[in-house]
Amino acid sequence: MPRHAKLKFDETRQVWVILAPERVLAPDEIAVEVLQLCDGVRSVAQMVDQLAAKIRRRPRMRSRPMLSPCCRTLPTRDFLTEAREKTS
């Protein structure tokens, strides 16, 4: 995630949030699972493997069907710029 976007668990609201300039976003459950793996080091393939292992599905499963609509819109909103650059 780029410097201006920060993922954290908000104890007071009991929800995961992305903090961005003058905005607070509420990613859904699936997006949070994915975003927690976005450390700037793991590749998308590694993340897919890791998530697949976690939900006990075969690694053959492509990343796309696993991404929620919320997650898919994040790169286009510039909240996952680094990842987009690396994978494109």
Partner: protein, 313 residues
Amino acid sequence: MSPTLTDAGVAASDPSDGLAVLEQRGSTAETFGIPLAVLAELTHRCPLQCPYCSNPVELERGSSELTTAEWKKVLSELAEIGVLQIHFSGGEPTARKDLVELVQHASDVGLYSNLITSAVLLTREKLVALADAGLCHVQISFQGNEPVVADRVAGLKHSHDKKIEVAKWTRELDLPLTVNAVMHRQNLHQLADIIQMAVDLDAGPAGSRQCAILRLGVEKPRRVDADDGADRGDQPACRGSASAAERHPRHRYVVPDYYALRPKKCMGGWGRQFFNISPAGKILPCHAAETNHRARIRVRALQSFDRLDLAEL
């Protein structure tokens, strides 16, 4: 009536303002109505003299400002009750010698920090120190798109060139940049150019071009429609800017209330999304509250959030 930490009733949020999405049922935030952000006016001191300044007519003296230790305590307590973002503002917040220390403290307690500045007092070393302290976002005010108008409105020579320089440093350091511009009769003809300037300033590292946000407070144009981008009034400057805005993803107009049928609900309701702390530690529901006697707002000096009590309306 604003919520207090001793009030156990649910502080209802408007379903349309996004708070309802964020606040889980029965969470502390829903119960007590914890705002998302706080504007910390560290000082009223400022080297600029913009005639439209939002600070009260009667400014707080430097000697009545909260100390470093007091602001640190405030930041810790804000984070503790669930505030997520802190906007360091003023006056000119960089006039405070302890700004880096306060930004560092905000980072330490987990607050997302934003610096709202005129930029004229900043050096590159200072900006680097702020970035290293964890500053998340920089907003720079602009009075125009070129020095003649901009320096006249700001009342300070060479201020415009300095702002451009600091804006470039900001992007070099990979900090997101917001351009704030108050539009009025003397600079309205520059609207399209100011938007273009914001786009150009953001030409930093690839992949982060969408970070610049242009905030336009429009003061006394003939006709401006806040919500409908297709109708920006009769003025060629406004029409031209609409096409520039289309190329730019984040672009906000903030229109004064006297162009609406009734005042905007202030920041999602009094103190619900946001509140303001003055240099002397008064908690206010908005910038103007201290001088608005008609609203019969009583403010209380900030002692501690142990007995948090927002300004009573």
